[in-house]
């Protein structure tokens, strides 16, 4: 049934019995990788949760110094880019290679826009003196703990930005291969799993946004 005399479909690796097994393995593999990412970010969420619980006021003060509009616009950017990535998968499923590539490239460009805004935001923090450590100049109550908030903010968004950067490259490269006709309705696992990665990056931001930018101000 599964021996080597079966003519392999284009893109089928030799150790898989058929395309379906390969597709199912690729999808499951990417999901298992994504849960390692959930746990990787999870450690930071644990640290965030502990200190938010034990030092709520400092957390609220820190959040009040976030740039609400950059955070919100960045959220919009990522949500729209996720739509485009989902549409790119649809495009390749119906054989529209070129459209798939275009969607992926626009999504990749939106990732760049996200990073640009993030860079502007980081610069503003630096100018304001909100970088923890020797550069700290913010005059706030409980300054030491607010520094911890900003530290966690920089590490969480920095790690997220690193993942966005990888995603930008990934979508651009996969888009390039799609444009060259490497994928088809029967074989497009790389498009699918790259999409999963990008959506995951979006999901992380969906949580980072309210946790970092939208902490309610403590009642006076």
């Amino acid at each position: 049934m599964h021996d080597s005399t079966v003519v392999a479909a284009r893109g089928l690796r030799h150790h898989f019995a058929d395309m379906e097994q390969q597709r199912a393995s690729a999808t499951l593999g990417m999901w298992v990788f994504l849960i390692t990412e959930i746990m990787f970010f999870g450690g930071l969420f644990a640290a965030y949760l502990v200190y938010r619980t034990t030092h709520f006021e400092a957390w609220a003060i820190g959040s009040a110094h976030m740039d609400f509009w950059i955070g919100t616009i960045n959220t919009v950017i990522l949500l729209c880019s996720s739509l485009l990535v989902a549409l790119s998968v649809h495009a390749i499923q119906v054989g529209q290679n070129r459209l798939c590539a275009i969607y992926l490239w626009i999504a990749s460009a939106m990732g760049v826009a996200f990073l640009v805004l993030k860079g502007i935001e980081y610069h503003a923090h630096y100018v304001e003196g909100a970088v923890p450590g020797s550069l700290w100049r913010l005059q706030v109550a409980d300054s030491r703990t607010v520094q911890m908030f900003f530290y966690i903010y920089f590490v969480m968004t920095g790690l997220h930005a690193l993942h966005v950067t990888i995603g930008i490259g990934l979508l651009a490269v996969i888009g390039g291969y799609a444009a060259k006709g490497r994928y088809s309705p029967t074989y497009h696992n790389p498009v699918h799993v790259s999409g999963l990665y990008w959506h995951f990056v979006d999901v992380v931001w969906i949580f980072l946004y309210p946790l970092l930018y939208l902490i309610p101000h403590p009642k006076a």
Partner: protein, 542 residues
């Protein structure tokens, strides 16, 4: 192609298909990758062993005379880091798991062969970084990297050591997720979950832990490295940070990590006990589900490492209770292996001797773990040699003996040669005696109050320490013996048949050593696991 005629036609197998260095370093064949791992982890085992030797020599005398306390700190740190992250965690999964998982399920390779190769490269790069650390002054934080010492006060190579461990962690994650996808998606037709060898169940459970736990220690150690680099962080009490938060994040992985280290060993024991009792494992489903339970429950107990660190006493009670529960599935396995041997046709080959040693020593280690889970006892023996003896009984008496059992059991399949049985038995006996002489006195030492990680001690502890070091020297001989005779067997060992042990399992239905693609045609499985009526061969007389 060779132009010289050889006396016997050597069949093409995964070893002789290509002898170039490139074919090895760029291989995607899971069997070759297993061999690459075998060589690297053996090397790392001896590096960690040298550190242990120096520790034991220092501890021969009460005075700290062989090395300064700073150097001693570095010695036990390197010993722990190398042995945990670069030997125990990869050992069985990366060597025996990589070799056998595809074969046991009737597949041609793992789901992601290139990622498998990448995992080895991550491993050796990480190992290379640790070698660099050793050569440039070492690291002195202990393998546990507690803050604020590691993040603020240590003057050693903390960041490089963390980078090496981070890479080893990636290697582990890649191995784990490869196994999970392979076991789910690439089983041969007819091979239902209920027919899988227990080796597969255990490796599946191990992979779940690798995938869910490793990222948390990765982020914990990354935060330490960042805090060290930027002199700013979230564990610093001066800023309102809590050093215990690091310990929570560290142990969230490092406790389940001990199950990563023992489950694969248990996997080997299940196979060996069944084959050398020539009997189906007693309570197959119980053992299979016990593996999964260990993986799940193992994540719920980590704070038992922190009972005296300043955590909430109330939470400590909760974790203490949970720690008692986690012992139950391990006990189920021990009972079931013993019940398998009862009225079985037991043959005392070398792998079986190691397996029997495992069952006894693991039980002792496990029981002492229960003592440590009791809050009252832990307050007394935490950070003493009692803890060291406990985990060495499990890790060395358990995990390493399981590893040696597996290496000997599958050696014929891997190399095509039989190891010399007499020497195998001698080594097993030497290791057993050496091990007990090394570590049993340490239970007593710990109970009597000798703290761990100290290079000098009051003179009344000397006798037991001398016994321990004497045992270590015997243990060292025991470890060198297999290295010697296994290498010898590659050239001079008896040529192995396909199934020397008359074992069940798909891997025994291939030639020894197997061809690159494992099975010319995918097997179709219609029999239950450990069904000896399906085995045509007789065991080779040894």
């Amino acid at each position: 192609m060779a132009t010289v005629t050889v006396p016997a036609v050597e069949r093409e197998n995964y070893l002789n298909t290509d002898f170039t260095v490139k074919s090895w370093l760029l291989t995607t064949d899971h069997k070759r990758i297993a061999i690459l791992y075998l060589l690297s982890i053996t090397a790392m085992f001896f590096v960690g062993g040298i550190a242990a030797t120096l520790i034991r020599i220092e501890l021969l005398t009460p005075a700290g005379d062989l090395m300064s306390s700073d150097t001693y700190n570095k010695m036990f740190s390197i010993h722990g880091i190398i042995m945990v992250f670069f030997f125990l965690i990869p050992s069985i999964p990366a060597v025996l798991g990589n070799f056998l998982v595809p074969m046991m399920i009737g597949a041609k390779d793992l789901a992601f062969p290139k990622i498998n190769l990448a995992s080895w490269y991550f491993y050796i790069t990480g190992a290379g970084l640790l070698m660099y650390v050793i050569l440039t002054g070492g690291v002195d934080t202990g393998w546990t990297f507690y803050v604020p010492y590691s993040s603020t006060y240590s003057n050693s190579n903390v960041i490089t050591a963390i980078a090496g461990i981070f890479l080893a962690g990636f290697s582990s994650i890649f191995t784990g997720f490869n196994f999970i996808v392979t076991i789910h998606r690439m089983r041969a037709p007819g091979l239902t979950w209920g027919r899988l060898p227990l080796f597969i169940w255990s490796h599946y459970a191990t992979s779940v832990i690798m995938v869910l736990g490793t990222p948390v220690v990765a982020i914990a150690l990354s935060l330490v490295a960042l805090e060290r680099a930027f002199h700013m962080g979230i564990f610093d009490p001066r800023l309102g940070g809590d050093p215990l938060l690091f310990q929570h994040m560290f142990w969230f992985y490092s406790h389940p990590a001990v199950y990563i280290m023992i489950l694969p060993s248990m996997a080997v024991i299940s196979e060996v006990v069944s084959t050398f009792s020539r009997k189906r494992i007693f309570g197959y489903m119980a053992v299979a589900l016990a593996s999964i339970s260990i993986a799940v429950f193992g994540f719920l107990v980590w704070a038992h490492h922190m009972f005296v660190a300043g955590m909430s006493a109330y939470a400590a009670l909760v974790f203490s209770l949970l720690s008692y529960f986690v012992a139950v599935p391990s006990a189920i396995k021990v009972f079931n292996w013993t019940a398998t041997m009862y009225k079985g046709s037991v043959s005392l080959n070398t792998p079986m001797l190691y397996a029997m040693g495992f069952i006894g020593l693991f039980t002792m280690g496990g029981m002492t773990g229960l003592y440590l889970s009791a809050l009252g006892i832990d307050v007394q023996v935490h950070h003493t040699y009692f803890v060291i003896a406990h985990f060495h009984y499990i890790m060395v008496g358990g995990a390493v003996m399981g590893y040696l059992a597996g290496i000997h059991y599958w050696w014929p399949k891997i190399s095509g040669r039989m190891y010399p049985e007499a020497w195998g038995k001698i080594a097993a006996g030497t290791i057993f005696i050496g091990f007990n002489l090394t570590f049993f006195p340490q239970f007593v030492l710990g109970y009597l109050g000798m703290p761990r990680r100290y290079h000098s001690y009051p003179p009344e502890y000397q006798v037991l320490n001398v016994m321990s070091t004497a045992g270590a020297s015997i243990l060292a001989v025991g470890y060198v013996l297999p290295l010697a005779y296994l290498l010898w067997s590659l050239r001079y060992g008896e040529v192995a048949p396909d199934n020397p042990w008359a074992a069940t399992g798909l891997e025994w239905r291939t030639p020894s050593p197997p061809p690159t693609e494992n099975f010319p045609e995918t097997p179709i499985v219609t029999w239950e696991a450990y069904d000896y009526s399906t085995v045509r061969e007789e065991p080779v007389a040894r």
